[in-house]
Subunit: 180 residues, 2 copies
DNA sequence: AGCGGCATGTAAGCTGTTACATGATTAC
DNA sequence: GTAATCATGTAACAGCTTACATGCCGCT
């Protein structure tokens, strides 16, 4: 799974601009994929060059012009090829878990603060997914609902572990430094 | 957080070879970091060149020679600099969630099979973490235990969502294709 | 006879990020 | 007046992966 597969998938649902695509990343895809504009625009350009998508420039009033991209038949074919290809393993990379893993080399207080921040941040992401879920649950396909549930349950589990962790570290806080 | 930070952290616990480091990735770090040998060996080389670590070659009988690396004082300083630097956002990229997200363009049967595989795979990872947790819980620091708990609870939540998802898709299976 | 574990390393290439560059409109 | 939203793009570079290359030992 790469940027181009996700973009093709989004265009399967209808024409979109690069900006629209990035919005989707942030709203309903963010819990399993994200990429910057520095990836979106060059990818669109490349997909257009290989005729998998087509560009139409929309002149807007009061707003900058917009490049609306649509998927072509070749693009659809390419997307189905992705959809039925073998599944790649997930990639999860977490700095906060690394700080926990090596936590004994630091101090309890700053770890607790960082966990609190991590909780707040995940609560915000959870709220966003819950919003999307309840707003659109009537019009979303069964598998898409599962992908949103995954994100929500995942965040809930993470928040719960972090909150218990904070309690636990607080109860040992008198140590300040660990010796293990 | 990059490969070099993790390697430095592992060497804080004692000397290790590139092979040992990769083993650690697979056992107790795998749920939040992984990298191939093609990253491990060049990184070690570069860290040695900048005097953050030192190499000692161990001649072994019946086994290939081993390069044991130890962290230097400069390396420790560098590690602490990482440990107290701002935390980077997590990165999660999931192909199976993408397949769910775009599931309406495929068929229910193959999605169900893929979810079943995903469950089995996560159950194996969970079992591995549980093993590590119960084996070493006496000698691990509080924060490290939290990092393992995180992995375990995360996998449990994911397995649960996937299992419920399989049930749900099965109940709609007669459709074979969706129209939303 | 062959596979899995132990052990190290390189080269080419892919995929993405960061930082830069631009600029109008709308809401506070 | 200033921040956010809408909107597009490039160039340099970082940081990995994949595939290749080597070779002995112990088990089955």
């Amino acid at each position: 799974m790469q940027a181009k597969d996700i973009i093709l998938g989004l265009l399967m649902q209808g024409p979109m601009s690069g900006y629209d695509i990035k919005q989707h990343y942030e709203v309903s895809l963010g819990h399993f994929f994200d990429a910057s504009y520095g990836s979106v625009y060059p990818t669109l350009k490349q997909l257009e060059k290989t005729a998998l998508i087509e560009k139409e420039t929309i002149i807007q009033e009061g707003k900058p012009n917009k490049n609306l991209y649509s998927i072509t038949d070749q693009g659809k074919e390419q997307f189905y090829q992705y959809l039925f290809s073998p599944i790649q393993a997930d990639i999860y990379r977490s700095d906060i878990l690394a700080r926990l893993y090596f936590g004994k080399f630091g101090d309890a207080q700053s770890l607790i603060e960082r966990l609190q921040e991590a909780v707040i941040q995940r609560q915000a992401q959870l709220a966003q997914l819950e919003h999307a879920y309840h707003m659109h649950k009537q019009d979303l396909s069964a598998p898409r609902l599962i992908s949103l549930q995954f994100g929500m349950e995942d965040y809930k589990a993470q928040i719960s572990v972090f909150q218990k962790g904070i309690q636990y570290l607080r109860s040992e806080e008198s140590f300040e430094f660990w010796e293990r």
